[in-house]
């Protein structure tokens, strides 16, 4: 099991990974794509049985390596739909492509805040929940009506995760549990051994939460307090990076890093390390299924969403990506690998989740953060 889970960990960190990896995956997918072709035979069995034959092709635009390779042939078998894959490396990458007028994608999986942006720009089709009986039945109500799509009109949750910090348990003697601990250790003993994500929302938001404010605050006074904390922290930061910190913590060049749970799990699979969701709270993000405007086969997109909302199929996904499942826990528990279910990085205790907030920053808040972020970096 340890061996196997390590390979799973290694894959899971690709979500926010490098172009090279995504390009390679795209290449491999292109090579392997045709194998799925003829698998749409009659009488395919599904676990729910109620799977409708849809046919055609599903053009799926996604983060690299964010779907269990086993899911594609199973889906094709159940629905007769072939899957064509394409990958993006950041939400902004996806946004740029869709806003430049790219059409032909039937399904994509951006992060919540980008769902809102794309929706406001009129780039998304409506979701027809009557075609999603599995999702209707099995989704944890926590993942309905999320702030970025308050009426569940254009998105259905795919995966979720948190923003916290990872630290090396062998290099850090203390056992930090809060954002205050993180700041204190960074400004004290572990000065110049700490990295931050290159993201104004994550860094400023976590600081706001430490001060007892909302992650999404747009109150100038509160933001000013956060700025002061950050300016004090600045001289102790080793680097600001979203892509290199995993390797830096694994190599021991950094001891503590503000980051995402998938990356934390990656570090923990290589070295003694612990990922912390801070006591005060923090961000939880949700990547959601959306149907881009101009989709030629929205039925296939609905079929995919409905397919992966079968608890068994969803367990297969979670066992591969190691990101949280939006399916009700009591439904996924009996069908998922117990080792994965026990992993608190993947399934944090619900008590912890109640304090977390999703990114929902207003344009005004974005501009205020941008100035603070510039000042912080320039300090």
């Amino acid at each position: 099991m340890p061996e196997e889970s390590r390979t799973i960990w290694e894959r899971s960190y690709d979500r926010k990974g490098f172009i090279a990896i995504s390009a390679m995956t795209a290449f491999l997918a292109a090579c392997g794509g045709d194998d799925d072709g003829g698998a749409g035979g009659e009488g395919a069995k599904t676990t729910t049985g109620a799977m409708e034959k849809v046919g055609g092709t599903l053009h799926y635009y996604n983060w690299a390596d964010y779907v269990n390779p086993k899911t594609y042939p199973a889906f094709t078998k159940a629905t007769g739909v072939k899957v064509k894959k394409d990958f993006f490396v950041s939400n902004e990458d996806l946004q740029a492509k869709l806003q430049a007028g790219a059409t032909g994608y039937d399904l994509a999986a951006p992060t919540g805040y980008m769902v809102k942006i794309l929706n406001e720009a009129g780039k998304l089709e409506k979701i027809d929940w009557s075609k999603l009986p599995n999702a209707e039945k099995n989704i944890d109500p926590k993942f309905r009506k999320l702030p970025f799509d308050p009426n569940d009109e254009v998105s259905v949750a795919k995966d979720w995760g948190t923003t916290g910090y990872v630290y090396r348990t062998d290099l850090v003697k203390e056992r930090p549990t809060s954002w205050r601990d993180f700041f204190d250790l960074a400004k004290g003993k572990y000065s110049k051994k700490v990295t931050l994500l290159d993201g104004a929302p994550e860094v400023i938001g976590s600081t706001l939460v430490m001060l007892g404010h909302s992650y999404n605050s747009e109150d100038e006074g509160e933001l000013d307090q956060a700025k002061k904390e950050l300016l004090e922290l600045k001289p102790h930061i080793l680097a600001i990076t979203s892509t290199q910190y995993k390797q830096m913590v694994v190599a021991g060049r950094a001891s503590i890093a503000l980051g995402w749970n998938g990356d934390g799990a990656f570090v923990a699979s290589k070295k003694p390390a612990e990922y912390v969701v801070a006591e005060e709270g923090g961000e939880f993000w949700v990547d959601s299924y959306v149907i881009p405007k101009g989709s030629r086969n929205p039925d296939a997109a609905h079929a995919w969403i409905n397919f992966v909302y079968d608890p068994k199929n969803n367990a297969t996904e979670t066992e591969y990506t190691f990101y949280g499942s939006p399916v009700k826990r009591e439904l996924i528990k009996p069908v998922i690998d117990p080792e994965v279910f026990k992993n608190t990085d993947v399934f944090p205790p619900t008590s912890q989740l109640e304090k977390l907030e999703a990114n929902d920053i207003s344009p005004k808040g974005t501009r205020l953060r941008d100035r603070i972020w510039t000042e912080f970096k320039a300090a």
């Binding site: 902004e92 946004q95 806003q99 809102k116 942006i117 406001e120 720009a121 110049k192 290159d198 993201g199 104004a200 600045k234 930061i237 080793l238 680097a239 600001i240 990076t241 060049r253 344009p363 974005t366 501009r367 953060r369 941008d370 100035r371 972020w373 510039t374 000042e375 970096k377 320039a378």
Partner: protein
């Protein structure tokens, strides 16, 4: 007198080239270049100018209007510092590459035996992506690199000394990456030098230094100008070296612009910053060109 003379000769030269003596080229030959320039330079520049006076509304929408709001927002000591720092970096990079590059180019043009080989060594780095070469410096600047380990073991540097993710790392990266851009035009100018002129000056009583100042320098000045511009201009937009080698701990104009376009999604503000950079650069270059042009005239 001499100023007048050189002006005269310049004017005469111009009439010669523009006159009927030389071969005449049909004007349409310039069409591809002009079209390219209009489409890929003036076009985007115009779009940028329009964006810079527009407003952002909501998360991404650009509302076309005429407002100076973006420029007013830029009028802030914070952004002033960013521009000054950028100017400083560009100035440093130009001076440092000139200081390192000139003796090398001079040696290469005047004394070197294996010119082709040495020139090849200058060019070879271009065969690899800029990004990969910069990432390679992460390994060299790491505290685990043998040189730094040896220095540490010998007690010369302190236990936690590290160049990685410091301003010095940015400076090293800048000099390394931009050096060939300086060396090549310098070499091209020095290569055309008629060294017998220098010898003549020395025969007539100039010290080697005076001969260099009065003969060599004025003759290779166009190369110095070309090299300086090639280094200075892209440096004002440099943003990858500070991100990779500087740990993204400082902000230069390039980073500020990228931040607006990619993460803050405020294209009008990003466009305004870009316009200011372009404007400031144009002024700086005009002044520079003016100063060096005068130098040529008097020096000659």
């Amino acid at each position: 007198m001499s100023v007048e003379a050189s002006r005269l000769s310049l004017r005469r030269r111009r009439t010669v080239t523009a006159g009927a003596g030389g071969p005449r080229y049909p004007g349409w030959l310039a069409l591809p270049a002009t079209a390219w320039y209009a489409f890929f330079f003036l076009g985007p520049l115009g779009i940028l100018a329009v964006f810079s006076v527009s407003r952002r509304e909501g998360y991404t929408d650009i509302v076309y209007s005429f407002t100076l709001e973006n420029f007013r927002y830029l009028w802030d000591p914070l952004y002033g510092d960013v521009f000054l720092r950028t100017f400083g970096l560009a100035l440093f990079g130009t001076a440092a590459t000139l200081l390192v590059g000139f003796p090398f180019a001079y040696y290469l043009a005047r004394y070197a035996r294996r010119k082709t080989l040495l020139l090849l060594l200058v060019i070879i780095p271009f065969w690899t992506s800029f990004l990969i070469r910069t990432y390679a410096w992460l390994i060299i600047l790491s505290p685990d690199f043998p040189i730094f380990r040896a220095l540490r073991d010998a007690g010369i540097t302190s236990e936690d000394f590290s160049l990685l993710y410091t301003r010095e790392a940015i400076y090293i990266g800048v000099v390394y990456n931009y050096l060939p851009l300086m060396v090549l035009p310098l070499y091209a100018a020095l290569e055309r030098m008629d060294w017998s002129l220098v010898e003549a000056a020395e025969d007539l009583g100039d010290t080697p230094f005076t001969a260099f100042r009065r003969v060599t320098l004025p003759l290779v000045l166009p190369g110095v100008v070309a090299g300086s511009l090639l280094v200075f201009i892209p440096l004002t937009g440099e943003y990858l070296i500070p991100v990779i080698l500087g740990g993204d701990l400082t902000v230069f104009a390039g980073n500020l612009i990228a931040q607006q376009f990619v993460t803050a999604r405020d294209w009008p503000f990003g466009a305004a910053i870009a316009m200011v950079v372009i404007g400031a650069m144009t002024i700086a270059i005009l002044i520079y060109a003016r100063l060096t042009a005068r130098e040529v005239q008097y020096g000659g």
